[in-house]
């Protein structure tokens, strides 16, 4: 019943947010925030629960955005069908990265996944006949009219993803993923096929990032490779860590804080990035378990 209360509360907050925040600019930030929640939630499945460092998240996000947009603009697919194709494409790329994860650990996997993000970015820049390169794709329409409906759509999807993932990590599958995170050899001694479950986590993570990516182009209206610079992977990583890695609510908190904080700091001009950096450092130094750990201790 506590869970039902939690989801009801989340639903009410989502419903109320666009009315509390009424300027078009900040409503736009809300949509971005909902996408970031999806990205952080999915990254946390790989990093927080399965214990695999993944710096390739921006690539999966990009695949979702580009595959759906190209299918819609060039091949005139319907948005939902294109979105589905984009999710599948991103998911398969996640499985491809998982093939590396089966053999690489720790820092080596981090570098391989980073390389994967760099390659994806370079392909987007250079494969001009398909992606338009740095010129970008223009005039992309949103699947729903207006910022508020788009926010409701993305936030609603994020809530559903949260609920499904919350069930998953409390199930035997969650036990298995955590066992791999803690000690893969030990997990194998209990009959856990590490390679398969890592592939599962990477695949799901990538597919959800691809799902988030489907909504980005319609929201901005244009699509350029720079939106998926590898720096974005680190921002998503920061969301997971600042919010609280390995907890369900942590990445949500992290995504909200790291989406709004830079915007709130715009008034500080040049000082903005410095304050942002110091704030991140302080959180990691004094709250190693992330912001979510403050709530846990009281509970």
């Amino acid at each position: 019943m506590r869970r039902a209360g939690f989801f009801l509360g989340a639903l009410i907050i989502i419903a109320a947010l666009p009315w509390l925040i009424s300027t078009p600019y900040w409503r736009g930030i809300l949509v971005l925030c909902a996408m970031n929640v999806l990205l952080a939630l999915s990254l946390n499945l790989v990093m927080g629960y399965t214990g695999q460092l993944n710096l390739g998240q921006s690539a999966f996000y990009a695949i979702g955005a580009y595959v759906s947009t190209i299918l819609i603009k060039t091949y005139h697919w319907n948005f939902w069908l294109a979105g589905l194709a984009a999710i599948v494409a991103a998911g398969f790329l996640g499985l491809a990265l998982a093939a590396f994860a089966a053999r690489l650990r720790g820092h080596y996997l981090a570098i391989a996944s980073l390389g994967f993000a760099v390659i994806t970015y370079q392909v987007l820049v250079n494969w001009e006949s398909v992606t338009e390169g740095v010129r970008g794709i223009y005039g992309i329409s949103s699947p729903v009219r207006g910022t508020v409906p788009l926010f409701y759509l993305v936030a609603g999807i994020a809530l559903v993803v949260y609920a499904l993932m919350d069930n998953l990590v409390r199930s035997p599958v969650g036990d298995t993923l955590r066992a791999i995170r803690e000690d893969e050899v030990s997990a194998a001694s209990l009959g856990v096929n590490g390679a398969i479950w890592k592939a599962f986590a990477f695949g799901v993570c990538a597919a959800i990032a691809g799902l988030a990516g489907c909504f980005y182009p319609g929201f901005v209206g244009t699509l350029v490779p720079d939106a998926f610079n590898i720096v974005e992977s680190f921002t998503m990583l920061a969301m997971v860590i600042v919010g609280g890695i390995g907890t369900m609510i942590g990445p949500v908190i992290g995504a909200v804080v790291l989406t709004f904080l830079p915007e709130l700091l715009r008034g500080f001009g040049e000082l903005r990035l410095m304050i942002y950096g110091v704030a991140l450092t302080l959180v990691v130094l004094f709250l190693p378990g992330g912001i979510a750990s403050c709530f846990k201790r009281r509970a």
């Binding site: 499904l164 919350d166 069930n167 998953l168 990590v169 409390r170 199930s171 035997p172 599958v173 969650g174 036990d175 298995t176 955590r178 066992a179 803690e182 000690d183 050899v185 030990s186 997990a187 194998a188 001694s189 209990l190 009959g191 856990v192 096929n193 590490g194 599962f200």
Partner: protein, 248 residues
């Protein structure tokens, strides 16, 4: 039950296990002893599938194990513990044990998207924790347990896979006398329930009192195999353990 023929494994120039053949009979307690560096742990890693041998044959219940990864051997009923304890330290005791049950699980993952539940394993996991004397600590973090209890938790976790052959790598290492006694009593109980035990051990009390067969290794090679009494009386074994000058 477990049949190894001519197993060998080298690491670079080090021939850790050389031409070892052994047969573990069903429903027995089989001890594997030898001085430090004799290759006991490497042999156990070969038997459990952590390593694959360079040469030799290995069969469990007539099934060929060569090339079969560790996680698949568990499904045939081969479980193990580790010499250097490898618990899931950040997880609770019950989560540790529960992870061992999932090998029996064939529910596809999407069913858990709608209803996340580990409930049906909790009761069994708790039973196993009671069995190793840790029932009261089910929700503590495994890493916070005292050393001796961490060993017992590893036993419980491996038992969760419902093994028919249970291999323990120095289960008594670092335990005090009372803990060793409790361990011995539990191992005897596990054996009574029909599980075959293969124990790598330094603790001679354990070996001599509970084992039916003892296999002695030295320098990666088999030295002697026999009953505990025969092993105690064997000059080569005494010499390997106590140094050449004590040999009869």
């Amino acid at each position: 039950m477990l049949q190894a023929t001519g197993l060998s494994k080298s690491f670079g120039g080090v021939r850790a296990v050389r031409n070892v053949s052994l047969a573990v009979p069903e429903k027995s307690i089989f001890a594997l002893i030898g001085p430090n560096g004799a290759g006991k742990s490497t042999l156990l890693n070969l038997l459990s599938g952590i390593y694959q041998p360079d040469a030799g044959d290995l069969a469990f219940d007539g099934r060929d194990l060569i090339g079969m990864p560790a996680y698949q051997r568990v499904r045939l009923g081969v479980a193990r513990t580790f010499q250097k304890i490898r618990l899931f330290k950040q997880l609770t005791l019950i989560e540790n044990v529960r992870a061992g049950f999932h090998v029996h699980e064939d529910t596809p993952f999407w069913q858990y998207l709608v209803r996340g539940s580990t409930g049906r394993f909790d009761a069994e996991a708790r039973e196993l924790l009671e069995f190793v004397g840790l029932g009261a600590r089910a929700h503590q973090r495994a890493g916070a347990l005292p050393y001796g209890q961490q060993r017992m938790l590893e036993v419980a976790r491996a038992l969760a896979t419902r093994p028919r052959l249970f291999m323990l790598d120095e289960p008594a290492a670092g335990l005090n006398a009372a803990e060793v006694e409790f361990l011995l009593e539990r191992l005897a109980e596990i054996a009574r329930r029909g599980v075959t035990l293969l124990v790598v051990e330094h603790n001679m009390d354990l070996v001599m009192n509970v084992a039916q067969r003892v296999f002695v290794m030295d320098h990666g090679e088999p030295l002697f195999e026999g009953t505990p009494r025969e092993v105690q009386a064997h000059p080569a074994v005494v010499s390997a353990y106590l140094g050449g000058e004590f040999a009869a």
